[in-house]
């Protein structure tokens, strides 16, 4: 069936039992299920990684590592402990954060950008109305936070900063940042109607 990028954006609300089933099938070595899971999740995975690492070529590398890791370790997914989407996105975020924290010292970074930066065959299928609507909803929920809650959550999640780094950048006490991250996420959770 070729590699047509039939990207279906994730729904921001509600859990997808279909994704959970796909990931469970992947754990049994089902490559077709993996391909479908890829199509469903790759735009979210790549978008998040790109937001954290910024550099497009590096984001591609990390996204590839993440998807291969999903394939390799799918047996560890336990639907009783969370959704497939959350599991995959956690892997993606961890890898992205590891990359920015370790790449700070890496000198071959510019070389890599120069080497791989020429690739321009982007795919815009994912930029559908749905994505924009879901993004809109998340932004509305973010707007409902206090300024400090919003900064703490987004600097950690999209910026890849640890909470002591966030505290340093915002010049607020560590304890304050810790609680704002938690309160902010709790408020987002309730705003988005995430199942508990």
């Amino acid at each position: 069936m070729g590699f047509v990028n039939d990207v279906v954006p994730l729904s921001v609300t509600g859990r997808s039992p279909e994704l959970d089933e796909l990931l469970t099938s992947v754990a049994r070595g089902d490559e077709t299920a993996f391909e479908r899971l890829y199509d469903r999740l790759i735009a979210s995975v790549f978008g998040l990684i790109r937001r954290v690492v910024r550099d497009r070529a590096q984001a591609e590398e990390v996204a590839q590592e993440v998807m291969v890791e999903v394939w390799r370790t799918a047996a560890r997914f336990d639907p009783a402990r969370g959704s497939a989407m959350s599991w995959v996105m956690t892997v993606a975020h961890r890898r992205a954060v590891d990359r920015v924290r370790s790449a700070q010292a890496s000198s071959d970074r510019e070389d890599r950008v120069a080497r791989m930066g020429g690739e321009v065959a982007y795919d815009h299928v994912a930029e559908t109305v749905t994505t924009r609507l879901e993004g809109e909803r998340v932004r509305r929920c973010l707007d409902g936070l206090t300024e400090l809650q919003r900064q703490a959550v987004t600097m950690a999640y999209y910026g890849g900063y640890s909470y002591p780094e966030v505290a340093g950048l915002l010049k607020v006490p560590l304890g304050t940042v810790k609680t704002r991250m938690r309160d902010g996420l709790v408020r987002l959770r309730d705003c988005m109607g995430v199942e508990r």
Binding site: F3, Y38, A43, R72, T90, A121, Y163, R182, V194
Partner: protein, 238 residues
């Protein structure tokens, strides 16, 4: 519930904990059901923040990934731990601390089934036998070491047998993390394999010549070439 550590759930769900606190919090998480439930909900929430910035990658990425997975072996499903009660461990006659250490280590080895050890999953009997043989070595060094985040580990090493055995209760980790074992000799740090958490784990690994320390770190799943985090356990083996 410890209120102080509990407030870390937000930072944890955002992967914003420094490594020192990460081990500590994950240890706490394995014992705190309320915290696990909260973290689950916050993780789901964070995932939606990620989905909100979706962006399509180049098409070529998919062919690269599909080609690569065709060559990557999948991890087998986790093996359930068997009850340890049926196992009778014949203890040799020993004196004082040695007898105690042997009893403690053998009992631990008896429930160490879920280990993804370096190369293979060892049978329970082989593991106990190995432990006993290691302890019987004239130059065996037995150490009880504190684990960062609570609990303790027993490390038995013998230079003549060229083996080191490690046993400890290892808290469950997030699927994207793994425990990694290291042998350290001077400047040289070698990986000695990966171990999953979630119970009492025992692993026996080769002790390269010149090794003076044995350590355990938490690494990204799949392991690292060299340790990237502070050890959760570090023991002298000479």
């Amino acid at each position: 519930m410890n209120e102080e550590i509990h407030t870390l759930s937000g930072a944890y769900a955002l992967n914003a904990l420094p490594l020192r606190e990460l081990g500590e919090f994950e240890g706490h998480l394995s014992r705190c059901e309320t915290c696990s439930i909260e973290v689950r909900g916050l993780r789901e929430t964070a995932a939606r923040l990620g989905a909100a910035v979706a962006e399509a990658p180049p098409r070529a990425l998919k062919s690269r990934v599909m080609a690569q997975i065709a060559e990557v072996r999948q991890e087998p499903p986790q093996i359930e731990e068997e009850p340890a009660a049926e196992v009778v461990v014949p203890l040799r006659r020993g004196k004082g601390r040695w007898a105690l250490a042997l009893a403690a280590v053998s009992a631990a080895a008896a429930v160490s089934i879920g280990v993804v050890a370096v190369n293979e999953i060892r049978s329970r009997d082989a593991s106990i036998e190995q432990t006993q043989s290691l302890l019987a070595a004239p130059d065996a060094v037995v150490r009880k070491v504190e684990m960062v985040g609570g609990g303790s580990a027993t490390v038995v090493a013998s230079e003549s047998r060229r083996k080191v055995m490690f046993t400890s209760e290892l808290p469950a980790l997030d699927p994207s993390r793994t425990y990694q074992l290291w042998t350290i000799g001077g400047e040289r740090i070698r990986s000695a394999g990966l171990v999953d958490g979630g119970g009492i784990r025992t692993a026996t690994v080769e002790l390269p010549a010149g090794t003076d320390h044995f350590g355990v770190t938490v690494e990204p799943a799949g392991g690292s070439q060299q340790p990237t985090t502070e050890p959760v356990m570090l023991a002298k083996v000479v």
